[in-house]
Each structure stands twice: as structure tokens, then as C-alpha cells.
Amino acid sequence: MNIEPIDYRTAAARLLAERPDIREAITRATLAKEDRRREGYADIDSEAWRDWASRLRRHVLANLDYYLEQAGRALEANGIRVHWAEDAQATCATVLSLCHERGVRRVVKGKSMLSEEIELNPALEAAGIEVTETDLGEYLIQLAGERPSHIIGPAYHKPLSESQALFAERLGTPAGAEPSALAAAARKHLRQRFLAADMMITGANAIAADTGTIALVENEGNIRIGTTTARIHVACVGIEKLVPRLTDLGTLLPLLSRAATGQRLGNYVSLISGPRGAEPEGPDEVHVIFVDNGRSRLLADPPAASTLACIRCGACLNACPVFRQTGGHPYQWAYSGPIGAVLAPGLLGLERGWTLAQASTLCGACDAACPVRIPLSGLLRLWRERAAQAGLEAPGEAPAIRAYARLARRPHRFHMATRLLGRFAPWFGPLVPPLSRWLRGRTLPLRNRNR
């Protein structure tokens, strides 16, 4: 099978040339969130909290079979139906059969990157089911027929003017309406969808194995409303998203919130421990679908397994100076930024994902931000190494490194070469890669310039 690698470079170059406004919007959003994260880390002992979270998540991974069984039992004991899905297709099939068996025609959704990963919306729509995203950013993206550009802020790339035009066309708001007026229009429209919905589909930020509790964090209230009004709630959850104890959420969720947006806690947290039962409101059925989709393979790869400690806070995206220029679209799949670049070869396979590991200067800003201390730049390097071993490299890179190493082993020639290169590179540079690529947008220093 011939698998095309993700071509980040071409997509990024096109975006930079054609959509400078997207670059501006992404830079503004991510810089602001990065500032918020710093503030959020500043009023706790963030080093100690990150050590704690790193250890907790690694403990879970090292005992994942145990905690999954425990969680499965606890959820079932709470009256929550538990399903297991090997891959994207099996997950979509499980949701679809629930829909068919229960006569579901209208689905509302909370923002879930797993749902993007498994391409759930197209699968539901193909079966004639109406799907409405209810997170405001995700709703915007759905109206525009786009994909989220950031795992926390799907519409971070969207300049206000575009949202205004979109809402004017689709919801009839006046041209140039204020954000508050746009939000009011969306509220009114989506409220109807909530009240008419048969099923609410969410992800989960975590599941507490001891009490069988689904934790969901959000700011708008759409998840709380959807999990109240729909008669069926389905949570699609990666198998790695467990915490041992309910009380662990007491530190993990504040840390997640601080890392993502600098908030002390997301504005709304739902802790769902069952269907409504005898209570006055809420869904009659709650389902959890535990999704593997490549995760158990990544778990079986000890050098890369810590990738699964991720709590999807988006802090590494906000911190990444590469991501900040382009946003998530050029990464061409659900996850972007540093975590997307190390998940891609892990979940999509080396052949498809290796190129994303090149989309980094290895500056380490992501390592410094990650609340669970995933060694992101080390993992980027690991995938570069595996790609090189598999013969996957930028054109000419392997021979260039070999030639360079040969030269470096011979000091005399090496020094001569540097002298020649330094003196003449500015003149022959335009003709030979990689200097010619350097000269795209940059000059070479003139060696005889005395400064």
C-alpha cells in the first residue's frame, strides 16, 4: 500500500501566502492563551502539580488494564452501558446501531476531538441523522464546512468578520453584528436543537475508575444542557482517559483548566454518574464507548507510550511558535501542534505521520508548557529517528548528513570546507540546496564583513 505522507510544508506555505489573516488570528489567540496559562500556573505550585499529574497519568498507563476493568464495572453498576470499540469504524457503527435501535433522528454534540479523529459526523449524516455541533466555535466550523484548527478553540483561526458574514447568511443576523448579538442568535437557534434532540454525543475529559464517573469540562454550558435535555447520552472516550479516583479530578481538572485557558476551573464541570433514574430530569440512558483506534498499539511502544498521558489541554499548541504561524489546518488531521505531531506517527502510522515530526525547531516551548510533562521534543526526535531508520527523510537529507559526518571526521578538510563555504556561499548559494532554500526570504552573512 502506498501511503502519502501528510504534506505540512505545502499546506503551511499556501496558508501563509494566501491567508495572512488566519496567521494573525491564530497568533493573537495562542499568545493570549499562553499568557493566561502562565498566569494560571503562577498562583499554584505548578512544578509540583505537574509532577503530580505526570506521575498520576503514568501510573494509570502502567495499570491501564486494571483501571479499565474497574471503570467498566463501576460505570455498569451506575447503570451506564459500556461498549468497547477497536477502531474508528467500530465506534461509528456502535453509535449508529444505538441510533437505529432507539429511533434517534436528531443528535446534538459537545466538542470532542475523538469524534473528529474517528470522523463521526460524516458517518451519522450518511445515515440520514441530523447532527448539530453545539459548542459555539464548533458550530461556526460546522456552518462553514471546515475543520477545527485547535483542539481547544476550534475557531481560533476565524477572524470575527468571517463569523459575522457566516451568521448573516445562515442565521439572518444583521451585517457586522456585535459578537454578543451573534451569540444570542446562536443561543436561540441551538436552544431549539437541544430541546428537540434525541441524543447528546460528547467526549470525556476523564473517567474516574473508582466511582464510574464521567467528567466533562466546558465554558458555555452546552454540554450541561445537552446531557440534560436529550434522552440518550453517549460519551466516546479514548481508552487512556482514566483517573484512579474521583478525588484525583480535584487536582487534574484545575490543572487542565489552567493549562488550557488559565482558568482556575472550567466554567462548567459535569460529573455524570448515571442515567436520571428516579430524578426529575436527565437522559434515560447513558452510554460510554471506550475507543482504542491505535492507542493500545502506542501503549505497547514504551519509548512513545507517554504520549497517551495527554489530557488534551492544548497548551503545547499555544506555546508552539510553529503552530502559531499556521494553526492546525496544515497538520491535516484532528490533532495539531506538538501533540498532533507525535500522535500522528503513533496513531496514523509512520509512513503517513513522519513529516509532522519535522514541523518543529525542537525549541522545547511545548515541554515547558505541558501539564503532564510529556517530553514532546524528545518524542519528536524519537519519531525523526524512526523515520530515518525507515528511510523516510526530507529529500537529500540522509546523504547530506552522511557527507557532513564524513567531513567532520577529518578536521583539516572540515576547516578548509568551512572557510570556503563561508567565503563563497553567498555567491553559489542560490544554486545548491539547502542553501537555495535558506535564501528563500533570507540572506547569507558575508564573511569578510567585519563586525
Binding site: 505540512y8 510544508r9 503551511a12 506555505a13 501563509l16 501566502a17 496567521r23 497568533t27 511558535p321 510553529v322 502559531r324 504561524q325 499556521t326 519535522q358 514541523a359 518543529s360 525547531t361 525542537l362 525549541c363 522545547g364 516551548a365 515547558a368 526526535r381 525523526r384 529517528e385 524512526r386 523515520a387 530515518a388 531508520q389 527523510e393 526530507a394 537529507e397 548528513i401 557532513y404 559526518a405 567531513l407 567532520a408 571526521r409 578536521p411 583539516h412 572540515f414 576547516h415 568551512t418 563555504l421 563561508g422 556561499a425 540546496p433 539547502p434 542553501l435 532554500r437 535558506w438 528563500r440 526570504g441 533570507r442 540572506t443 547569507l444 552573512p445 564573511r447 567585519n450 563586525r451
Partner: protein, 261 residues
Amino acid sequence: MHSYSTRAPDIRHRYAYNPSMRICLVPGCLAETFYPQAIRDSRILLEASGAEVFVPPQVTCCGQPAWSNGHPAVGRELATALLDASAAGDYIVLPSGSCAAMLRVFTPPLLETDSPRRQISAKVHELIEFLDTIVHYRPPTNSLAGRRIVVHHGCHARRELAAVGTVEHLLEAAGATVLDWKLAAECCGFGGSFAVNLPEVSVAMADRKLDALPQCDCVVTPDPGCLMQLAGRAERRGLGLTIRHAASLLREAEQMRQNEH
């Protein structure tokens, strides 16, 4: 062979002359290729600290380009060869934060646990950090008075070597004003092969940094890679900025002392 000899006048009386301290100055490929003057400037500053400085002809590359691009075996080979070639120094000093981080922080995990090269690795320092914190070099008071300067630290110097503050400290000791830079901590977009594999994004990153610069007389950095990236982009855009290696500006300050004598 390069010796980067300085023919500097004897200024050692200003500092405790310590001929028993031998400093191995390792140029690093980029400075050797494009900024040999920065190496000469580094040598002058190190000699001003009173030590004996030597540049072993056998030193070439620290191995970082190979290591960070998925060839750790080659990286380890070059790094160990360099460490072996520099072992005679009491200190091993590089006018490049990135190479210093490679040798001091990234190389030991590539070595056997009992490798004697671990001890050599522990002697590695980035030039300015070495001047500021190890030999307590101070430039002449007021030698840079009135100059408004912006400092860029390479990311490895910033994170792995915790070098932030060293350049600033010496510049301020020389009377310069070090200006705040909103995006000081941000990567310049060099990243070795990244700069040529993804030139469009790399240039966009440099632009972000340059566009956020305050009004200043000069930008300095102790990292030749960042220097090449920021200066190369600024020149192509015709920004008329002066961007220099930190050693070069400090050498200029040191010159004032030498002129006095």
C-alpha cells in the same frame, strides 16, 4: 589552520592572572563558517579573564545536526570526538548556546553510564554564561553607556542551560540599557534543518520576532544560528537593524579598556 589568535594587548593585570587555568575554545560549525570574527572576539574576552585559551585543531562539529535529525549514532560519534579533542581544557567554552547544550545536556544520555566523557561534558559552558558566572568577567563600566540593546537567547540556552540573564547582566554592567522584548522567549525559527525544510514557516517565525522589536541600537545573541536567522531575515527585508553576536559587542566594550592602556 584557524587559531583565532587575537594579538590582544596584555590586559591581564585587570584580572587575577591564572595561567594554570586552560580554556578550550570550541568555535562551532556555524560561527567557524560564517562568523569567525565572533570567535576572535570570544577569544579576546576569555583572555581578558586571565586564562590561557587554546583552540584544538581537531574540533569540528558537536553532532547536534545529526542528533536532532534522527541520526543519534552519528551525533554521539561527533559529540564524543569533540569532547575527546577538548579534554585538555579545564573548561570547554563555546560561543554558541545550542552547541553547548548539545555537549553538556543532550550528550550524556547518549553515553554509557560510566563513560569518562561525562566528566568532560560537565566542563562545557556557553561563552557568556561562563564569563558571567564562572570567571566573573565584567566589561569596563560605562563602556556601553547610552546604548539600547535587545537580547535574544537561543532556545536551548534558555531552557537547557538557563542562560537567561547572563548577557543582560554583562551588558548592564557596561552601562547599556537592556530593553524588554514582548516575544523575547519565542523561537526565532532557525532550528537547523527546519530552516531549510520549512523555509516559509521559518521565515514567518523570524518575522514575528522582528516585528515585535522595540526601537533599539542593536540586537545581540550568543547563538550563531539565531544570529544567522534573524540577521539574514532582517537584511532581506531591508530593516536596517544591527544584529550581532553578543561576544562582538562585548569585545567592542572591552576595547575601551584596552585603549585606555
